[in-house]
């Protein structure tokens, strides 16, 4: 019990961020029209590519050949997630914008 309380106290800031972000995430997208579901999913997909920061930190402090190569791979994968995600989303949304101008 005491350990649990300690744990919560120790990580109180992270826990705060997590709880607030959960509500924010729900609130932000709850009124999205169905036609934007796919681009929104794709955009969210790009945002979780933020995991790339972790891979940069790992690679930035890697020394042996194994962690260098794994870190290198991780950064490539993370970049694919970020860049691919945003470009795909942009392409989808381009379709919507094109007709807006015509109108």
């Amino acid at each position: 019990m005491e350990e649990t309380l300690n744990f919560i106290y120790q990580y109180r800031e992270a826990i705060f961020i997590i709880i607030l972000s959960i509500f924010l995430g729900i609130e932000v997208i709850s009124h999205v029209p169905a036609m934007l579901h796919t681009p929104l999913m794709s955009g969210a997909n790009a945002i979780h590519g933020v995991v790339i920061i972790g891979s940069i930190i790992v690679l930035g402090h890697a020394h042996d050949i194994l962690s260098l190569s794994l870190g290198f791979l991780a950064v490539i994968l993370g970049t694919l997630n970020v860049v691919g995600g945003f470009v795909v989303t942009d392409r989808m949304l381009e379709m919507f914008n094109k007709k807006n101008k015509k109108k």
Binding site: I18, I53, G84, K99, K103
Partner: protein, 471 residues
Amino acid sequence: MGTINDSILQISYIIASICYIVGLKKLSHPLTAKNGNYIAALGMGLAILTTILFHRTDGHAIGNIPLILLALAIGSFLGTLAAKKVKMTAMPQMVSLFNGMGGACAALISIMEFPRINPDIIAESGMMNGLTLSILLGLVIGSVSFAGSMIAFGKLDGRINDSKISYLKIINIIGIAAIIAMIVFIMFQEEMPSMTIVYILTVLSLLYGISFVMPIGGADMPVVISLLNSFTGVAAACGGFLYNNQAMLTGGILVGSAGTILTILMCKAMNRSLMNVIIGGFGGSAAGSDEGVEKHIKEITLSDAAVLLTYSQKVYIIPGYGLAVAQAQHACHDLEILLEDKGVDVKYAIHPVAGRMPGHMNVLLAEADVPYTKLKEMEEANAEMANTDVVIVIGANDVVNPAAEEDPSSPIYGMPIIKALDAKNIIVIKRSMAKGYAAIDNNLFYHPKNRMLFGDAKNVLQKLIAEIKAM
């Protein structure tokens, strides 16, 4: 305490977090969506740049910069290339693929960070600490997301067929129990365990990811991708917890919760619960109640269809996956323009789960320059169905199946449908009498009001256009 470097880094992370939130918010409105995407991307770029420049671990700056830049360049090049080259119809599997990359990235981080858990913490409280938990969760969730996304990609791309192996569900339960047991086991170790157990956990998670997605039908892949998307978000947040990195934490959790809500919205559109999608899956078991009754279908000739359409006042087009497969969106738009010129009111009725992803039809029709004011959502279209002279069902099946309303034994019973039957005439353009993704028969096709136009959607539409023009 804080150095200038730290301050700059933290401020940039705050800005990045705001960018994600504003970006997501703008992404949920059609007019601002494109800007929303740019804003989110800008925030991401800022977070990456400042991490490289200002991040310090115990005073050590980020090293191996050339290697990092090379990896960024390779990833950007391949990512842009893949994203630019992919056809609009293949967008869903592309999202799945990129999602898998993020999951794999999170898993790799965990594998590398596990042996580096601060020995002081282990000496104090053994492996039972927040760092170990976040590393293990990042590893498991990332691996499941990676393996699952690859299977979802394979299924949507037609490389992997649906498997109806029933014992996979039991394997899944055993799998998840084994994964939890291993996490608990590692957490209760007094000392740093060997990496072998971490590798075993990784393999187990990968296998679980495969067997988790394998029994779920291709039609449910959108829901699965959205779910895996939120998984990867959580895996990224685990990394944020590990590094005490606020940008990763907010970004990951935002996607985790937004993704979960999106998943639930999609399930609601099909009137099914998430559990039902994951555990149930559409089975071939319920075959419909009136098997064996002789049914007749009527075909319509192209010229009859052309006359019927030209002299209608109001026409609704109901597109489905068949339209995407045949790449018939441009032909469809041409038909719409032609009919509008003849004074016919043409609109599109979009079922929320038509195609392989919610919004799939919208994106596809947008590609063909169909104005989005012409795209009506299901409720709105249903309200107008009774005044509609002709509905043209193009490559859609389950979303117009009256069994969803009439037949309680049907696996899709309860799913809201577009009430094509309410219209005065129905024309179904379809390649064959093959069943839809739910693998059940559709009584709409046998209804007296309905007539079939067999053939590839694009081909049929082009012939129909020629026929109308010749009139």
